[in-house]
């Protein structure tokens, strides 16, 4: 697990020194501990921005828009020539394979009729792919070959195929009409996103309410029905459990005690948080105390889990210092010598 190259070694040393720098704050706040905090926050934010750009803005906005622009201005004749050549090649290959096939198979292939609509649908799926760059004849060929390979269109009769292709070209556009609307939608999204930046300008800050409302509206609209079902309905349903659990040997006392404890806990904790009237009688006070006991047990378990989690993080760092920093550095130089 130690460093393999000199660059790795430098990385491991930086990580080790930063780890020690963070832990130095246990003694007292020093320049080193402040520096490591600043480095951590800076690197995290910097990388977040880069990752968001590369995984969100670039593939979803920049690249599709660039492709749209390029496909809009591509030479129509070059595209149709590339398509004709590729379809011709595919048809030739199909004819050859049909000729070399057994008599039975040849009859079966011949019996299949040429479906023009299906042929057009395959061409559409290959040529209107959002990721396709039409100026690259190679990409066009690959896209067509993969689309026809997974389709059941009978391309054995070359003359029919080429005739249908010419018919297809009469209506073919390098960019379909739906793509223009899609570009409008992208622009709308970008403008909505940019409105968030108006928060920096107090005079126009009100504009940021539009994207905020849109985002919250979408989130609530999509999330509420599912959350209601999974976090309320199913949870309530799960609390309807038998108070007396039976097994083939009689009563399952452990399961019964568990279920009973769950029901009592649910009811008493809910009762504890019920503030609409004073709980002065003995029964109410008793139920409230039981509820508090359940809450304390829950908080205790959470606290114990918290210690476990924090200790795990410490263990992880010390493991790193021991294995990768000390042992890794030793082994790296031992290997060099």
């Amino acid at each position: 697990m130690g460093p393999d190259t000199f660059i790795d070694l430098i990385g491991v040393w930086i990580a080790a020194l930063l780890t020690l720098g963070v832990y130095s704050s246990l003694i007292k706040d020093t320049f080193i501990s402040k520096l490591t905090e600043a480095v951590f926050v800076g690197v995290s934010f910097g990388m977040s921005i880069v990752f968001t750009y590369y995984n969100g803005i670039k593939p979803k906005i920049e690249e599709p828009l660039v492709r749209y622009y390029q496909n809009l201005h591509v030479d129509y004749a070059t595209v149709t020539n590339a398509v004709t050549l590729t379809v011709e090649k595919i048809a030739d290959a199909k004819t050859l394979s049909a000729e070399s096939a057994t008599e039975e198979l040849t009859d079966e292939i011949a019996s299949r009729s040429f479906d023009t609509n299906r042929f057009f649908a395959v061409l559409d799926s290959a040529l209107y792919k959002q990721t396709l760059k039409l100026q690259s004849t190679n990409d066009v060929a690959v896209s067509l070959q993969s689309a026809f390979a997974s389709s059941e269109v009978n391309l054995v009769n070359k003359a029919t195929v080429m005739g249908a292709l010419n018919e297809y070209f009469t209506t073919y556009k390098t960019v379909p009409t739906s793509r223009h609307f899609w570009v409008l939608y992208i622009f709308f999204s970008v403008i909505l996103g940019l409105m968030f930046i108006t928060r920096f300008f107090p005079k126009h800050a009100w504009l940021s309410r539009f994207p905020m409302a849109y985002t919250i509206g979408i989130g609530v609209g999509m999330g509420t029905p599912l959350s209601f079902q999974s976090q309320i309905m199913q949870q309530v349903q799960a609390s309807f459990i038998p108070m007396l659990v039976r097994n083939p040997n009689g009563i399952d006392w452990i399961a019964t005690a568990g279920n009973l404890s769950l029901v009592i806990g649910t009811l008493t904790v809910l009762y504890y948080f019920f503030f609409s009237f004073k709980k002065e009688d003995a029964a109410s006070r008793g139920a409230t105390k039981v509820g508090i006991a359940y809450l304390m047990i829950g908080f205790g378990a959470s606290f114990a889990f918290t210690i476990m989690a924090r200790v795990s993080l410490l263990i992880g760092r010390i493991n790193f210092l021991q294995d990768e920093w000390i042992q890794g550095t030793y082994e790296f130089f031992k290997y060099l010598n």
Binding site: T52, S230, G298, F305
Partner: protein, 334 residues
């Protein structure tokens, strides 16, 4: 003696924090020297997570069989009375069956939603479950949820499980990106991405993390939408984020779901396990150690369990000492 005690008391009062820190460090360090794995029994919550992967090939074959039966039934119906609706149902069933047969041992989605801060706990469980799936010939999809910084970390975990180093032996050999697994990477707005996966995985993720188009990858020929996935494991460091998977995967699409959480957040998810919305729950380092022990993965988390044991014993000792001190002080004050 009195002088010694008073000097010790003043020394302790001034430096007790430093002493406790140093002792904790020492306990952890000493424990990590012990390379012997700790003998652990697998809890029911972890067993559920193990079963999801273990039984996936078998369940996938059952799914294929059911789909074949459904197709045969539809074709029989069509032979009696054909209709456009029936024809489209048959086409759909055929396409689904073909997709199921492509990834014949099942498809497992691993959502890595944590950064380096939680790697110590969640890294080993994600690594062990990916290795477990690989060893059973299951195809693995890996994505990131809400945590942007999960991407570089996931890349390391995936590379390590698929290609690995000499210290991490893989009985299943090398795994090929695009054929055996695919790493989608991070996309903003995880909840919308999960929902979009319900419509089409390719529209949610057009490319993998490195920008290679997914449509050209052999593994993706068998995956159209989230229904083609046989099970999901979400490893998350944030409270509230696995709920998105519970809402989408479990409630909306009824896909078996397992969650792995840091110990600090795990108590919020036991109700979901009890209600059956989760079929497994891996709890922090202990859960990871149980998982890797059960599947025979390299003991990364298990080795750390000795340190957990020692530091917990130390913490309990400190609590006892603190309580004794409290009662003594209380008596003196009285």
């Amino acid at each position: 003696m009195k002088l010694f005690l008073s000097r010790f008391t003043s020394f302790w009062k001034n430096r007790y924090r430093a002493i406790i820190y140093i002792l904790t460090f020492a306990f952890v360090w000493l424990a990590l020297i012990n390379k012997k794995p700790l003998d652990l029994s697998v809890s029911d919550a972890t067993q559920g997570a193990l079963d999801l992967v273990e039984k996936m090939p078998e369940n996938h074959r059952k799914k294929i069989q059911e789909q074949e039966e459904l197709l045969a039934k539809l074709q029989k119906e069509e032979s009696v009375q054909s209709s456009a609706e029936l024809a489209s149902q048959i086409d759909e069933a055929k396409a689904y069956l073909e997709r199921l047969k492509i990834n014949s041992n099942g498809v497992f989605l691993v959502c890595i939603d944590f950064d380096a801060g939680s790697d110590a706990e969640l890294g080993p469980m994600a690594y062990a479950s990916i290795r477990h799936a690989f060893s059973l010939g299951i195809k693995v999809l890996i994505n990131n949820g809400y945590t942007v910084m999960a991407q570089p970390l996931s890349q390391m975990i995936v590379d390590s499980a698929a290609l690995g180093g000499a210290t991490m032996p893989r009985p299943y050999g090398f795994k090929q990106a695009g054929s055996d697994f695919v790493f989608f990477g991070f996309r903003p707005n995880a909840f919308q991405v999960y929902l979009q996966m319900g419509e089409s995985v390719l529209s949610a993720y057009e490319t993998d993390y490195s920008g290679k188009p997914l449509a050209d990858m052999p593994i993706m020929k068998g995956i159209k939408d989230i229904r083609d996935i046989d099970g999901i494991a979400a490893y998350s460091c944030n409270v509230g984020t696995p709920e998105s998977w519970i809402n989408v995967a479990n409630t909306k699409f009824n896909i078996p779901l397992v969650v792995g959480m840091t110990a600090v957040s795990v108590s919020d998810y036991f109700p979901y396990l009890q209600s059956g919305q989760l079929i497994g729950l891996i709890t922090g380092l202990r859960g990871a150690a149980e998982y890797e022990t059960a599947v025979g993965a390299p003991p990364v988390a298990n080795r750390r369990m000795w340190a957990q044991l020692y530091t917990h014993a130390f913490a309990i000792g400190l609590i006892v000492v603190g309580n004794i001190e409290y009662f003594i002080k209380g008596k003196r004050a009285a």
